[in-house]
């Protein structure tokens, strides 16, 4: 078990980078970026086998960010791991920058370009199936948003993963309960998500997505259900860590201004770990 306090500290730093990156660009998606912070920290600092100095290392585990709009979170954690200089985050969403508005494979460490919701799980399935065909032992992780679970393709893919026994695949749903225009439950209710995924043949569990210990334990359980893909339904809060952003759909796709940024950063820095 890694040092939980250290992971919490890393999560705090990641939140700061995310907010500064989005504020610097003047646009982006803070809500869904802040909600998946502990998940990314658990993956990149604990679970994933990866080499930031060699992003194309053949034996690496694959991570697909299906919720491609949370690119600020993905780019920030990759920069913090050393895939590219942190300075680069200042160019996020600017003309000529590699840091495109949605997750972009031209960025070292980004496995696949995403941004049209609902597409990532199929791609992850393909990689997991490919690993089996090629007899490789890498694992495939896919982070989905709860909003994109409304796309039919996700459920097509859910059936494929179970049918083909992709037990080298782990889908994590950032279940923050809020999509662009309101609460997920009021727009198209998908709860109880883990139960539904189990019905589709998955090994699925619910966790508190903001508790690093919970995240670590769940990631460790992945791989223990032979012949079944694993789904971790991570219950999170949209905009987590910033009081005026938490649970508010308004912050799905809006950058904080200067004043809002300093208020947000103050809150994050002040939070006791």
């Amino acid at each position: 078990m890694p040092d939980i306090k250290d992971l919490k500290e890393k999560a705090r730093k990641l939140r700061i980078d995310i907010l500064e990156t989005i504020a610097g660009a003047g646009s982006g998606h803070p809500g869904g970026s802040l909600s998946c912070v502990e998940i990314l920290v658990g993956l990149y600092y604990y679970k994933l086998r990866h080499k930031p100095c060699d992003p194309a290392w053949d034996g690496r585990d694959r991570f697909i960010m299906s919720k491609g709009h949370a690119s600020a979170a993905l780019y920030s954690i990759l920069a913090s791991c050393g895939y590219f200089p942190k300075e680069e985050l200042k160019n996020y969403r600017k003309l000529g920058s590699m840091l495109q508005g949605h997750a972009y494979s031209g960025v070292p460490g980004v496995e696949f370009s995403t941004g049209s919701l609902g597409e990532g799980l199929s791609v992850a399935n393909g990689m997991a199936l490919g690993a089996k065909i090629k007899k490789k032992d890498f694992k495939v992780y896919c982070l989905l948003g709860d909003g994109e679970m409304q796309e039919g393709q996700v459920w097509e893919a859910a059936m494929t993963a179970a049918q083909h026994k992709l037990d080298n695949l782990c889908a994590i749903v950032d279940h923050n309960g809020v999509q662009q225009n309101g609460p997920v439950a009021r727009i198209k209710n998908e709860d109880p998500l883990a139960v539904r995924l189990r019905d589709f043949g998955w090994n699925a569990l619910d966790i508190n997505g903001h508790d690093p210990e919970d995240v670590i334990k769940a990631l460790d359980l992945f791989g223990q259900a032979a012949g079944k893909p694993t789904a971790i339904v991570a219950h999170t809060i949209k905009g987590k860590g910033v009081s005026f952003m938490e649970g508010d759909p308004k912050w799905h796709g809006k950058a904080p201004d200067k004043e809002e940024l300093s208020k947000a950063l103050e809150e994050i820095k002040r939070e006791k770990i």
Partner: protein
Amino acid sequence: MTAGMKGPAGSKATRDGFGEALLQLGRENKDIVVLSGDLEDSTRAEYFKKEFPERFFNLGIAEQDIAGTAAGLSKVGLVPFICSFAAFWANAFGVFRVSVCYNNCNVKIVGTHSGISVGPDGATAQALEDIAAMTALPNMSVVCPADAAEAEKATRAIAAIDGPIYLRLGREAVPSVTDKEKPFIFGKACVLKDGAGAAIIACGHMVSESLKAAEKLSKEGIEARVINMHTIKPIDREEVVKAAKEAGAIVTAEEHQVNGGLGSAVAGVLACECPVPLEMVAVRDAFGESGEGEELLKKYNLKEDDIIKAVKRAVSRKNGGG
């Protein structure tokens, strides 16, 4: 589904040529994998399935998932061929756009049963807009062979190219019109009959109709060149311009909507590089209907006589007529 059109002796469907080539490729290249949308018997992917069941996956009736899974497989170094009816790939357009093309994945999309001549199943199964959709996507190439032998060669050729490619095939048997000895060169059109009175640029099943039309025209004193434009994107600009300069009148022929197909691609080249009178033989912004292939080709003005009329109109415009 009823039986399709019966072609003349020795005729064969392009899907058959594809199926045979895919099986051969499977023997030569262990990285080739095939995904099917529950139509492997119809698409002829079945030949591959029988010999290589471990590299064949029927992902069910789920075109979007098939396209995305193929994208993932390609990123692990495999070469996926995905097979369904051309009409049903419309369901996966968004996935082709982002997962396959934006990520420049080495995915070969095979659409059989294209065009109106597929017949009795009616409009929902007749792909008449797939060339338009596929050519609009960056990184995507589009290949539409004229006969079974060419389909076989084209299948092998596209397997060797890294990147997304759409292979447009038909269900019906078509006469053999290409030279078996001649290699298939991706992006390079084939002149099947020479002539400088007009030029007919056709793809797929319309190549054989165009050759029949050219023969009849020849008897009337019009020597029409017939060009098999098997690669629609990237289009062979050089051959189009050459035809325009030497023949001065162009007709395009395709089993596709008039908007965004081969005709539009040729028009784009002509307008920019060498404007000459152009007539398009294509479906005029309409859905098809049920009927036998031959009946439909007649009803939607896609027969040799329609090509002949179009050539005459183009020649008359070249000579200053209306």
